[in-house]
Amino acid sequence: MTEQDHNWKSIEALFDAERENAVDVDLKKTILNQIDMETYKSQEKKPEIKVVRSFWSRPVVRYGLLYILGVFTGLLLFTFAGSDFKKSAPDTSAMKGTLSSSVSFDDMKIADVLQYDSPLARAICNIRYSNKMVEIRLDFSSLYPVKSTLEFESNSFQVINIQNINVNSQTTTMTASNFVQINNTGDNKLIIQLLNKNKLPHDIEFKIYQNDTPVYQNSARVNKE
């Protein structure tokens, strides 16, 4: 054991003696007298914290009101702005590439109704037009194959669609840039739609052929105004 260790043993013994001879005190009364009894009482009867919301600040009420307000505002907007909505509907006639934007056949301007009636064939060619489109409804009946054409200027019109509403299998249609050819057999109904390119007055010629010779030829003018 080094001298330092020996010395420390002596000091430690002093600490032990100090601990054994520790002064006894009784400060309990003084401490209790010093304690703020208000603090004690408040610790003793700590009130439970209750969160009481007022009626209007309850979430159910607030969200309910918000919902009702939303519905009411929606109704108001619908009532007042609904009519304007119809009025201010955009002019779809200028929209490209949509047939649905075109006016219906009944609302179109009438160019002409070309009719042909003979033992060879019977045809009613109803031609109407709007700013956007020309629609031709052709009722065609023939016992034997009969060729007919609808001719027009390719600068003014362009075939968009040919709808065979009631066409038998022997009937065929053919399109080119400036005409539509129909080889008809039997009773058929066709709808031919053309794009009205420049809205200038132009004729659409309807021809019915027999042995490649026109037996009927008539025209209807569109964009008359």
């Binding site: 330092q4 000091i11 003696a17």
Partner: protein, 181 residues
């Protein structure tokens, strides 16, 4: 005497039991008082500080964190109170002059002289060394308990305690405590 552990008593105090607080006072007043006494060297001051410590403990009982041990909490409060006191009240009077006592005393005188020298020696150490020595050798705390009380790592407790021992040893040598050995 209640067999309940400290934290149970604290819980009961929070629930309003003043008698549980009395048990805690009984359990800790002597050690706290004596430790403070060794720090400040004056009985009346030590009493005042001890009282303040218990009042403070009572007031702050509601904020006690149950994951800690009560003794480390109360010792920490006591140490802080004492160190605050020492800061604001620099030493005014020395203890009895131990040097005045003869070195060739009998057993009783020798103990008294040793005790006085120890008091003086401790008071010459920096406060944190004094605290460490008291917690270790007077309150018989383990390194872990000191670490918890002083909120410093155990490693630091060991190294600082080593330094504190060395310094106290030197002081005691200087004061002639070992002269007759």
């Amino acid at each position: 005497m209640s067999e309940k552990d400290d934290n149970e008593l604290v819980y009961e105090v929070i629930r309003g039991s003043i008698s549980s607080f009395e048990v805690l006072i009984d359990r800790y007043q002597k050690t706290i008082f004596n430790m403070v006494l060794k720090m400040v060297g004056d009985v009346e001051t030590a009493k005042d500080i001890t009282q303040d410590v218990f009042v403070k403990v009572f007031e702050k009982m509601g904020s006690f964190n149950f994951k800690y041990r009560f003794f480390s909490w109360i010792y920490r409060i006591a140490l802080n109170q004492t160190l605050n006191y020492l800061k604001s009240n620099p030493r005014k009077e020395e203890l009895k002059k131990a040097e005045a006592l003869p070195a060739d005393e009998n057993g009783e005188q020798r103990t008294e002289r040793g005790s006085l020298l120890l008091h003086q020696g401790l008071r010459e150490l920096p406060a944190d060394y004094r605290v460490l020595l008291l917690l270790k050798y007077f309150c018989s705390m383990s390194y872990e308990e000191i670490s918890e009380t002083m909120e410093i790592p155990v490693k630091k407790v060991r190294s600082r305690l080593f330094m504190a021992r060395e310094q106290l040893n030197r002081v005691m040598v200087a004061k002639g405590f070992f002269d007759n050995d």
